[in-house]
Amino acid sequence: MLLAAAILLIAVTVLFTFSIRDKDMPAPEPLSPTRHLDERRAAIYENLRDLQFEYRVGKLSDADYQQTKVGLQKELAGVLAEIEKVSSGAPPTPVKVETPKVTPGTVCPHCSATFPQPLKFCGECGKEMS
């Protein structure tokens, strides 16, 4: 009885461990060459989300908010460019970041928020743009 139990214990565990069929082999893991950049992009989005929220609950001054936001957006632009380069197969190169030209009515004089087209009132702080 004891011997049978011992043999059974050995047989079951050895069979389970080593009886691997071809169909048991896991399919190759889909690997994205931009995975770590995608993760970085998601982290920056999250940082931007946090930033906007902290600004809304009054933890940041307008100037701090704008400065941090611009910094994060530049970082994001760099990551997006890098993703595109990696996806298109070109070797990654350092990213040049340019600041777009400012046209009147597109930058809030109160909170420094920027907008693509001229506005009468700021979309961020609600104050007059002029």
Partner: protein, 679 residues
């Protein structure tokens, strides 16, 4: 039966060794078959250890006193739950519990990640099974729970066992060790992932999320284990307190402190790619402190109420720690380039710097506790004489550290990530700081003169108001946008970022714990010998001995004085502390009488008969605010569970634009942005 148990452990050892070799060779030689069979070997180890545990439990419950372990920890008079608890009531059984929990964690980790982290998993399996092999060596060859009692060449069947240590025959001991071990053992999961990420130089941070979740789960178990241990000490040891800075208590606190530091600093890695080396050090330290704690309990190097008898296993732990720490340090040093920070601290006034302070303070606390714990060992090595540091040393060093940590608990949430201006900080700090000062001033006016108590209550108010404002402002922002009421908005707010607001709830729990700890500044106690009919007064309470009962059952005899209690003249229910004498182990224990209230506990211990046999010796304690310690734990647990629930996030990026773009895309603004839902 016992032979099958021993065979199962031996087979588990073979499979664990195979799993190490199979996974690493499979990875290096690119043989997926080997890697997969190594993962299956992990399941086999679990199944074999489960069989061994089943056999041990069966023997404990049925009372197979031919087995030395069963004889030493069980007897026929014990209730079923204590027969089960006898599994971890002795050295051999508790090492088997360690091993089984490790196998269980390993099986879960392998199953959870069977389609993920293909690159890292061989190393994860390698680390898990390397540790498993170490414990299986102890289970199989050094401290086997399946040894038989033999006289000459024959196995002897002794009619009954010695029974479990009576101090352990208490309900929290049924769940305290498994909880603490779930914490201790669980910290191997983040450690294994950290080592695997170093070995494979993982790009990206996906693995760190897995590591953080595992750390949070095991931190929750560790917290539960530590608090249950405090509950046990309070109710069973009869000295009126719940924390005595005992070496084994300290050993359970050390990994908790480093894990807490990691849970904070890991956010900086996730958000900004900073503190990577530091996080590696914290994860590794946490794991090795767990092993070190196990070593302290079992080697006999320090004296403790919790320690098992001195055995030969200490040197095995020292060997494992030496090998493990050397390999880890080598790996970290050889990967410094990979661990380089991706960004810098932008301002001293930022959440990042508050986290750094938090880490430094936690580290200082960890070092102080470690120093005090090892002081007897150090003095013995240097001077040849063991000199222990006592409770006042630990209190003197750790109370200021605790105060500073409490302050940072409130400061952190008020400061924004990356940078904050002085003006916004002034605005954010005003109400919480005023509330804290007001509470301290009011308590001072009410007659409290303890400096640390005033500071602690003031800081508790500061942190509570900080957290309340965080919830209120967040809920108001959601309410203003969605039109929902504040309570619904608060729920919504928490659901959108469970990690942040669950974390705030944990902070509230910590504040409540501190309220409970601060109550110790006002403890009163006395020891008196009273005759029948005699009375004494402590604080608002008057106690009178009005009778005495005694009796016995088959496990123990007992005696208990009947004590009539009045508070300010008002009669309270009778209290009856008890002294027991366990027959099998010839050991006396104390069952205290406790009247718990939110403002204070009345705690009476019957220490035994006095000089005249009819007299009773009573130790009486009035402990203010102790109940808040247990309430605080439940809040911490609730907050941790909230943190573990996935956040409800909808990534919609409709508005914010990139202001800078690559030269290739200049003039074609890319639409990126922030989650509108969050605003």
């Amino acid at each position: 039966m016992e032979n099958i148990g021993a065979l199962a452990i031996l087979l588990a050892f073979c499979f664990a060794v195979y799993a190490i070799i199979g996974s690493l060779v499979g990875k290096w030689a690119k043989r997926p078959f080997l890697a997969l069979s190594a993962q299956r070997a992990v399941y086999s180890v679990w199944a074999l250890l489960t069989s061994a545990v089943g056999i041990l439990l069966y023997s404990l419950i049925k009372g197979d006193y031919r087995m030395a372990y069963v004889w030493a920890t069980s007897n026929h008079t014990m209730e079923l739950q204590y027969k089960v608890a006898a599994w971890w009531g002795g050295q051999e059984g508790s090492l088997l519990l360690w091993s089984w929990l490790l196998a269980t964690y390993s099986a879960i980790i392998v199953f959870q990640n069977r389609r993920k982290f293909r690159d890292m998993m061989p190393y994860v399996v390698g680390v898990l099974m390397f540790t498993q092999t170490f414990f299986l060596i102890l289970n199989g060859f050094v401290a086997s729970p399946f040894k038989m009692i033999a006289a000459g060449r024959g196995i002897v069947d002794i009619g009954d066992g010695q029974g479990l240590n009576p101090l352990l025959q208490y309900w929290t001991m049924v769940i305290h060790p498994p909880m603490l071990y779930l914490g201790y053992v669980g910290f191997i999961a983040p450690f294994a992932f950290a080592i695997a990420s170093l070995a494979t130089k993982q790009p990206g941070d996906e693995w760190i999320k897995t590591t953080r979740r595992w750390t949070l789960v095991t931190w929750m178990f560790q917290t539960t284990g530590v608090l249950l241990g405090m509950g046990w000490a309070y109710a069973v040891l009869g000295w009126g307190g719940y924390w005595g800075w005992d070496p084994v208590e300290n050993a359970s606190l050390l990994p908790w402190i480093t894990a807490t530091a990691f849970l904070h600093s890991v956010m900086m890695q996730e958000k900004k790619g900073m503190m990577k080396v530091w996080n590696m050090v914290l994860v590794s330290s946490t794991f090795f402190l767990c092993i070190f704690g196990t070593f302290l309990t079992r080697s006999g190097v320090v004296q403790s109420v919790h320690a098992f008898s001195e055995g030969p296993i200490g040197k095995y732990f020292v060997g494992f720690l030496a090998i493990g720490i050397t390999l880890t340090v080598y790996l970290i040093l050889s990967r410094l380039e990979y661990l380089k920070s991706e960004s810098q601290m932008e301002s001293v006034l930022s959440r990042e710097s508050s986290f750094m302070f938090n880490n430094l303070i936690l580290l200082a606390g960890c070092f102080a506790v470690l120093w005090g714990t090892l002081f007897p060992v150090i003095t013995e090595a240097i001077m040849g004489e063991k000199i222990s540091v006592d409770k006042p040393f630990f209190n003197r060093v750790n109370i200021p550290i605790g105060m500073f940590l409490l302050l940072l608990t409130g400061v952190g949430p008020l400061i924004a990530w990356r940078r904050s201006s002085f003006e916004s900080l002034k605005r954010a700090f005003m109400w919480p700081a005023l509330s804290g000062l007001f509470v301290s001033a009011a308590l001072f006016a009410a007659g409290i003169r303890s400096f640390y108590a005033l500071m602690s209550f003031g800081l508790c108010a500061f942190v509570l108001i900080t957290v309340a404002i965080e919830f209120f402002k967040g809920a108001r922002a959601i309410s203003g946008k969605s039109g929902k009421n504040l309570l619904v908005s608060m729920f919504e707010l928490t659901h959108r970022n469970t990690r942040r607001y669950g974390g705030y709830l944990v902070h509230v729990g910590i504040v409540i714990l501190f309220v409970g700890f601060t109550g110790a500044a006002f403890n009163q106690d006395t020891t008196v010998e009273l005759p029948q009919g005699g009375s004494m007064t402590l604080g608002a309470y008057t106690l009178k001995v009005v009778g005495f009962e005694e009796g016995e059952n088959e496990n123990y005899s007992w005696g208990r004085p009947k004590i009539a209690v009045t508070k300010y003249g008002e009669e309270l229910p009778m209290m009856m502390p008890e002294q027991r004498f366990y027959f099998a182990s010839q050991t006396p224990t104390h069952e205290i009488a406790l009247r718990r209230r939110l403002n204070e506990d009345l705690y009476i211990n019957y220490a035994g008969p006095g000089t005249n046999n009819s007299n009773v010796i009573l130790q009486v304690y009035v402990n203010p605010l102790v109940s808040w310690v247990w309430i605080g734990y439940w809040v911490v647990l609730f907050g941790t569970i909230i943190c573990l629930i996935p956040s409800k996030t909808k990534l919609v990026f409709p508005r914010t634009e990139v202001v800078g773009m690559t030269s290739k895309h200049a003039g074609k603004p890319a639409q990126v942005g922030t989650n509108e839902n969050e605003s």
